[in-house]
């Protein structure tokens, strides 16, 4: 059965903007992205919205719905109260381009700063053999769809623009953790650079990244905290340091 939905959609650009009220019909089973498209088709033809798969797998339609970072294609209209006004804004951690579309290039720059997987010298494609238990931790992080909701909600950069130059953000901490936990990656300075170059120490583990992740990756528990512990092994634990000196081996096996 169709229902009438009250929306407040932010419209504007980098210079100025405001929330605009609109009323639109919605059908059972529809998601917020559906009604935004209906608004675009019927009332605001120049409304800018980024989307692609409409299946929660491309990470394009990230926006803030009633103040929460969410994927518009995965947010059921039926989850709101009948009289509730749904407020839709662009991601508030990134510069806005137009309406609901933001410039997320910050994330692409940060991605380039993380060194890629480095296999053992001489290993040819097709040669690596790994057991499932050795790669399952990293596989969880490969579920990331790069919607950047975790980056958007992370207060380190959301609330402090000046931190963007020194903080990579949760999406890239799971990338670093994925590689540092990889049994065949030979780059051994990932812990050090995570702390000193990517700003791991700035994270105060308040877990908002985990709360908003649409893939339910346990970002904080499975990536950030383990990486923090690995950094402690290498930088802050005198006994681990002593052990590594005496036994002449790297701290991580």
């Amino acid at each position: 059965m169709a229902r009438t939905l009250k929306l407040r959609i932010w419209r504007g650009n980098a210079e100025s903007g405001a929330l605009q009220d609109v009323t639109v019909n919605a059908n059972d089973g529809e998601v917020v992205l559906d009604v935004i498209h209906r608004v675009q088709a019927e009332q605001m033809n120049d409304l800018a919205v980024r989307w692609n798969c409409k299946a929660g797998k491309c990470g394009s339609c990230s926006m803030e719905i009633n103040g929460k970072p969410r994927l518009a294609c995965m947010t059921q209209v039926g989850s709101f109260e009948p009289e509730e006004t749904i407020t839709v804004t662009p991601l508030r951690a990134f510069p806005v381009i137009k309406d609901l579309v933001t410039d997320v290039s910050f994330n692409y720059k940060k991605a380039m700063e993380v060194p890629a997987f480095e296999p053992p010298v001489g290993m040819k494609p097709g040669e690596p053999r790994m057991q499932q238990i050795d790669v399952e931790r990293s596989q969880e992080f490969r579920k990331c769809i790069e919607c950047f909701l975790c980056q958007d909600t992370c207060h380190v950069i959301r609330d402090h623009e000046e931190n963007k130059k020194s903080f990579a953000g949760p999406r890239f901490f799971i990338r670093i953790a994925e590689l540092d936990m990889h049994p065949l990656d030979i780059l051994r300075n990932r812990k050090k650079t995570a702390q000193e170059e990517h700003g791991l120490g700035m994270c105060n583990i308040t877990k908002c990244c985990t709360e908003v992740c649409p893939e339910h990756i346990r970002i904080t528990d499975n990536a950030i905290i383990p990486m923090k512990e690995r950094v402690v092994d290498e930088k802050y634990d005198p006994l681990r340091w002593l052990g590594s000196v005496i036994r002449k081996r790297e701290g991580i096996l």
């Binding site: 009633n66 509730e84 990134f94 402090h160 700035m202 512990e229």
Partner: protein, 270 residues
């Protein structure tokens, strides 16, 4: 508009006046946590300085175990090395003050409690997607918060406390005259307290790391991998164990205090 400010009001970001547009009761959780933790801090501080009603043979309050100072006769498990301890001539120290720094340090540096008090006390942030009130933020990169990295040492010391409190629970299978083979409500309270503390420690993120998280090849360490999977399962519930064990300690202390004031309260099953 506050275009020149930082954060969500930075130039270039969507011009929205509100600090958050969340419509749910996002303030409820930090307020609840703040209230419970403040209540615990007040109670624990009062009890730590009270220096009385912490022993009702065979029960000892977890706030005072091991009792290392000037203790009530029979309450000291490891002797009294701080019996004559004094600072600037002031010698009447509550025995609790010699030991509470360790469980306090363990909880203060705990990854779960950090989340809780950063949100509810320091409002950094108060809730997800709710702008924090601070103009600058450096996280845990400098003193004093860089000391959070000492969590593992508090964890190790916490294990010693767990052993001692487990011994206290075992000693509670006696009656008030020290005869074995008895069990009271106090025995159950101390056993439950020790169990909750073990679960809290075993589910700790540092425990998870130490037991196997730091390994790169699980397949080369099958026993540690198995242990890591068990600790990982417990780790899912670390938040629950953190609260249960905190309330368990407070309740155990409260119960011992009650029994020490009203010995007849401690019903013996056998």
């Amino acid at each position: 508009m506050a275009k020149s400010e930082t954060g969500v009001f930075s130039a270039g970001r969507a011009e929205i006046a509100e600090r958050t547009l969340r419509t749910d009761k996002w303030w409820l959780q930090p307020l609840t946590i703040f209230s419970v933790l403040v209540a615990f801090i007040i109670y624990a501080t009062f009890r730590a300085f009270e220096n009385a009603h912490y022993y009702a043979s065979p029960l000892i309050s977890p706030f005072y175990s091991p009792c290392l100072g000037k203790c009530v006769p029979g309450s000291s498990l490891l002797g009294s090395p701080f019996l004559n301890f004094h600072i600037f001539g002031f010698a009447t120290f509550s025995p609790a003050l010699f030991i509470l720094i360790f469980p306090l340090g363990f909880r203060m540096t705990c990854y779960y409690y950090r989340k809780s008090y950063y949100r509810s006390f320091w409002m950094s942030p108060p809730a997800c997607a709710v702008a924090e009130p601070h103009s600058k933020y450096t996280g845990e990169t400098r003193a004093p918060l860089i000391l959070q990295n000492s969590h593992r040492y508090f964890f190790y010391i916490g294990l010693i406390f767990n052993v001692l409190l487990t011994i206290d629970a075992i000693l509670a299978f006696r009656n008030g005259d020290g005869q074995w083979g008895h069990m009271s409500i106090g025995t159950v309270v101390l056993l439950a307290n020790a169990t909750f503390l073990w679960l809290y420690s075993a589910s700790c993120h540092t425990c998870r790391h130490t037991i196997g998280g730091r390994l790169r090849n699980f397949s080369a360490h099958p026993i540690r991998y198995k242990a890591w999977t068990i600790v990982s399962a417990l780790n899912h519930k670390h938040q629950n164990f953190a609260w249960i064990s905190l309330l368990g300690v407070a309740f155990a202390d409260f119960y011992v205090r009650l029994v020490s004031m009203h010995p007849g309260l401690n019903h013996y099953f056998f």
